[in-house]
Symmetry: C2
Subunit: 453 residues, 2 copies
């Protein structure tokens, strides 16, 4: 992969401008009224694939948002890399915490600031530009396919079916994904595990209308208080999740594995400082990296009830709602966990209220072995780009579709991510360092080189 | 008070149209940007007082929203009734639950539907029209003063000072207030007690920004979960409030008093049915009327955190906030309770989060004796209008300024309210039955008749 650095240097302004075109499309998959933006973004990506050198590219329908597919087949006897990424992004609220417009990318302090700058428009686009480099310089050593979806942030509800429907088209030897982070620019790492996810919504209804909290307060169950009590009851004093059966399928990490994990660099003081917390908190008996890497968790992602405006309103609310998600370790089944959650919530709900529970989305966890040809190729590629061998790391995040790829297509994925924890993905002021963006474009061709050897 | 029924019959359409002019002004005191509406409403009321026959009426400044003062002094040797009411109203959200526009009154099914229809524009306006009747028919038997404020719904923060500053102007023998409910149109009642109020806001801050719930979930305290745990810890399994010292100043009702209270008509099945709840809930050992009448309570009035939009967002929120209010019985001091609350919240907050507590408003409770001349006049007036002797009832609601009137002006208040519990005050679809509105205009002159005797 000669001259990749030079190619990037010569084209960097164009690369950014092209990425910005994609970022400017507010492709928020969780908002129903953004459907036209999803179409627009998919069509823009199709154009980028063709411009980069794909033999063909298509915007293909799915049950939900369209999937962008593209390919360049140079020799049927050579291996095929299937690149997976997503063009949908998270919502942007709370909008008032953004320093710049979420969908108008700005370069400042060496970073791109925008929703999707990292997750996953920035990271997906690195693959298109790495592909362009290999095609334009006649160095592409194997076949490449692209599958870029528009529903990752809502749990990829349609992509499993899409994969089943297009198995032949998607035949490949490895799936390459950049939708994760590395430890730090000077601590390259490769994600070897993902947590599963079960994302629920609980609605508690007390009285049939909002009531005056003076006239009725103390005599009628308040759904906000009841919801708070139910949330509190979901963990015990050791931060163990109390849902019966929740831990049944969790495989305890061996002492050996835990020792190996503890070798990855982690600075607790730095971690606390960067988050602005005096103390961390989590399941008793585990370290911070273990709590996100090998242990399940339960978090309120949102809750609301009653009067949330300025000042005081003396209302006893009719309803209270919480979005609660659980991150799962690889052997836990998210559908089973969602059922256990619903059963438990209904079980602990007092008969003074009505409770409605629904599963919003979910997926299985994933573990990738490190002795494979593809992992070794990724490791060498990172080492060549960063001058340091990368550390295998279990991530706390979830990409539910990765487990499904293995189930449906029978293909393992390599999670070669270039994001940083400071990128604030899913948060206001999402950003992506230019250095990581360009390093990614450099490192990816190295993967092809080592993998196709 | 001859011909009062006839006077009402002849003028009812005009009365309604005049009331609607007031209702159409969205005088929401808790919203800062509604200040001009407060001025507009105060000026409109001043006009109504002059039209009704006041010798003078003024819009007077206070530290906050203006106070409308008016008077008609017929003879300095006669007693003076000071009418208190308020022209400010509660916010209207959630707006989507209203069947009609909150500030465009509609008459349907024998009721006026609008914010403020009852609380307290409708009830205050009855006094102006009763006054008009007495003036226009030359039957006013004593002096009348009006004091209509614009901050009752936010706890009357400026009216105490206003009373201190204008003690001479406000000299009176009794304060007459219609800002409460009666049991039912066929069960007239007079409110003889009000609960105090301490209204707090608790903000819990975890990490310094919203985090990805996968990358960080399980390793960092989630402020929404922590807030839920803290709210849950505020009551024990018997629904006793756990704040140390909270009950210290509560005077237990005697068996005698409880027996007397139990005589008031109350149908638990009807109560549950009207609220749509399978079971009521409250402090163990007390009946439903006791729980609101003679016992303090604690309710979440609002709470919010994280993502509250459509679908799933996997965010570990930075902040979680709750508005929590306590209704107090007459001997409890709201400032002391607010301090105990703040101290307790800070005490139980884990060191994984930061907690900010502020008191939004509050006030003392009130008890009115029933052996007085003024209570007897009110009782006779209700009996004459409704054909039945009214029952004295302790209300669960709060009108903090009533206790202050006694402290500052040395005047007792009579709470002669014509609202019904079904009026949905503070809720969507607030309404006020026409029958109650016109009965109020009829009953009030009877009070003057008996009181001035």
């Amino acid at each position: 992969m000669e001259n990749v650095k030079q190619y990037i240097e010569e084209n960097k302004d164009r690369f950014l401008e092209e990425l910005f075109e994609l970022i400017r499309i507010p492709s928020i998959s969780s908002l129903e009224d953004h459907k036209p933006e999803m179409e627009r973004c998919a069509n823009a990506l199709k154009g980028k694939l063709l411009d980069a050198g794909a033999d063909k590219a298509e915007v293909m329908p799915s049950k939900g948002n369209p999937v962008v597919y593209g390919e360049k087949i140079i020799d049927e006897n050579k291996p095929t890399v299937l690149v997976y990424g997503h063009y949908d992004v998270m919502p942007v609220d709370p909008l008032d915490l953004w320093n710049t417009e979420p969908f108008e990318p700005v370069v400042k302090d060496g970073k791109i600031w925008a929703r999707g700058a990292d997750d996953d428009k920035g990271q997906s686009f690195m693959h298109i530009k790495a592909f362009e480099f290999m095609v334009k310089t006649n160095q592409l050593p194997c076949n490449v396919k692209f599958m870029l979806e528009g529903e990752e942030e809502i749990g990829s509800p349609s992509l499993g079916q899409f994969c089943s429907d297009h198995k032949d088209m998607l035949t490949a030897d490895v799936i390459l994904v950049s939708d994760t982070s590395m430890l730090a620019p000077d601590k390259p790492s490769i994600t070897t595990g993902l947590r599963g996810l079960s994302y629920m919504e609980v609605e508690v209804t007390g009285p049939n209308k909002d009531l005056h909290s003076g006239i009725f307060g103390g005599a009628v169950a308040n759904p906000a208080n009841v919801l708070a009590e139910m949330i509190a009851a979901l963990k015990d004093e050791n931060n163990k999740i109390t849902i019966p059966g929740f831990y049944d399928d969790v495989i305890e990490a061996s002492e050996e594995e835990r020792k190996e994990m503890a070798k990855a660099p982690f600075d607790l003081e730095e971690y606390k400082k960067s988050l602005g917390v005096a103390e961390v908190d989590g399941e008793k008996g585990y370290t911070t990296p273990e709590r996100t890497g090998i242990r399940p968790s339960l978090d309120v992602n949102g809750m609301w009830s009653g009067y949330t405006g300025e000042g005081a309103k003396t209302v006893l609310p009719s309803k209270a709602t919480a979005k609660i998600s659980m991150r799962l370790v690889p052997n836990q089944n998210n559908e089973k966990i969602s059922e256990l959650f619903e059963k438990h919530i209904k079980n602990i709900a007092p008969n003074t209220v009505k409770v409605n529970v629904k599963a919003l989305h979910g997926g299985l966890g994933y573990v990738s072995p490190i002795e494979t040809k593809e992992y070794k190729a990724a490791s060498k590629a990172m080492a060549e780009a960063y001058g340091k061998e990368p550390i295998p790391v279990r991530s706390g995040g979830s990409i539910p579709i990765i487990a499904q790829f293995e189930q449906i297509l029978g293909i393992k994925s390599i999670l070669m991510g270039f994001g940083l924890e400071s990128d604030a993905i899913h948060s206001p002021n999402e950003n992506y360092p230019l250095e990581q963006f360009f390093k990614g474009i450099e490192a990816l061709p190295y993967f092809y080189k080592y993998y196709a050897k």
